[in-house]
């Protein structure tokens, strides 16, 4: 059931992509976000989708084109994500506790960091609350559940 009801971050993800025009990073690929980002970013925006499960990378291989890199990552520590300032980063990868590590890593490298599965009752799995103090701005997207959270050190999120 959880798999079928995935995708609750779609509305806020669209909003963030449409209000920005720079590069987009997706950590953790999936059928609810990768195709959407592929088409929303169009021909002009750089999009990088990274995934730890090679099986999923193969499923989405056709999306791997010049402007959209779809790549398998064996070691998240070695992922080349620190040398770009991203407009939007979507954090939705595994393992669960890796998400806060990469959010912290990107805290000064992204205008908007969108993290999925942020409702308080599952914080014990993800421990996002550890990294919230590292950001100036935070917006809890609770219109739909599972919740998402947007974090930024660059953009006031009151317009979301």
């Amino acid at each position: 059931m959880a798999k079928l009801l995935a995708g609750s971050h779609i509305p806020i993800l669209i909003k963030l992509v449409q209000m920005t025009d720079g590069p987009v990073l997706e950590l953790g690929i999936g059928y609810n976000s990768t195709p959407l980002l592929h088409w929303l970013c169009g021909a002009s925006r750089h999009l990088v989708s990274l995934e730890g499960d090679e099986k999923w990378v193969k499923k989405f291989q056709e999306y791997n084109v010049d402007r959209h890199i779809v790549k398998h990552i064996e070691d998240w520590d070695k992922a080349d994500i620190d040398n770009t300032h991203w407009s939007v980063v979507l954090i939705d990868h595994r393992p669960a506790l890796r998400r806060k590590v990469d959010a912290e890593r990107l805290k000064d490298k992204a205008d908007y960091i969108l993290i999925h599965d942020s409702e308080p009752e599952i914080n014990k799995f993800y421990r996002y609350t550890d990294i919230y103090p590292l950001f100036k701005y935070r917006h809890d997207y609770t219109a739909v559940k599972p919740n998402s959270v947007v974090l930024s050190n660059f953009k006031d999120l009151s317009n979301l």
Partner: protein
């Protein structure tokens, strides 16, 4: 299974149309890309009424857990008998090839916006869309993918989609 890019090329067009509209949404032909997308977009936009119809039992079973108060999902035995001949704000057409032009005709004066998938000329033999284009005053074709998507309307001149 490998996912083809053309299977999801309707998403940005649906996003565009949903952004400029407010009312009920009809989905003919469910799928792993369109059904979750429409579900969450309609839920986030004040629980817009959403009806999804599918004749393939496997696709229906895969997506039926999205059924909610605002989102009605129905397995179709006979497309002629589905209750769609009433006003819709947006209708998404992506169901059985031979049925598409029939439902488009049925909806031509009921739906303000029809979003039609697979409208590339190379697929004309399969879908026969050329027969129904003359029924509409306004049309926009989106060709950024090999699988094109078109928006048809008899009510809106579609210029708001250009913004």
């Amino acid at each position: 299974m490998k996912y083809r890019t053309g299977w999801s090329s309707h998403l940005p067009v649906l996003a565009k149309v949903l952004r400029v509209t407010k009312g009920s949404v009809l989905e003919l032909g469910m799928g792993i890309f369109s059904t979750p997308f429409l579900h969450w977009m309609c839920l986030a936009d004040g629980r817009r009424e959403l009806f999804s119809y599918e004749s393939n039992e496997r696709y229906f079973k895969e997506q039926r857990l999205f059924s909610r108060g605002f989102h009605k999902i129905e397995l179709v035995k006979d497309w002629d008998k589905i209750d769609i001949d009433k006003p819709w704000c947006v209708a998404f057409i992506d169901h059985e090839a031979e049925r598409r032009k029939i439902e488009i005709r049925r909806l031509s004066w009921h739906a303000r916006y029809l979003v039609v998938h697979d409208t590339q000329p190379q697929a004309e033999q399969e879908y026969g869309y050329n027969e129904i284009y003359p029924l509409f005053k306004y049309r926009r074709d989106y060709k950024f993918s090999r699988a094109n998507t078109s928006v048809l309307s008899n009510f809106k001149d579609l210029s708001e989609l250009d913004a």
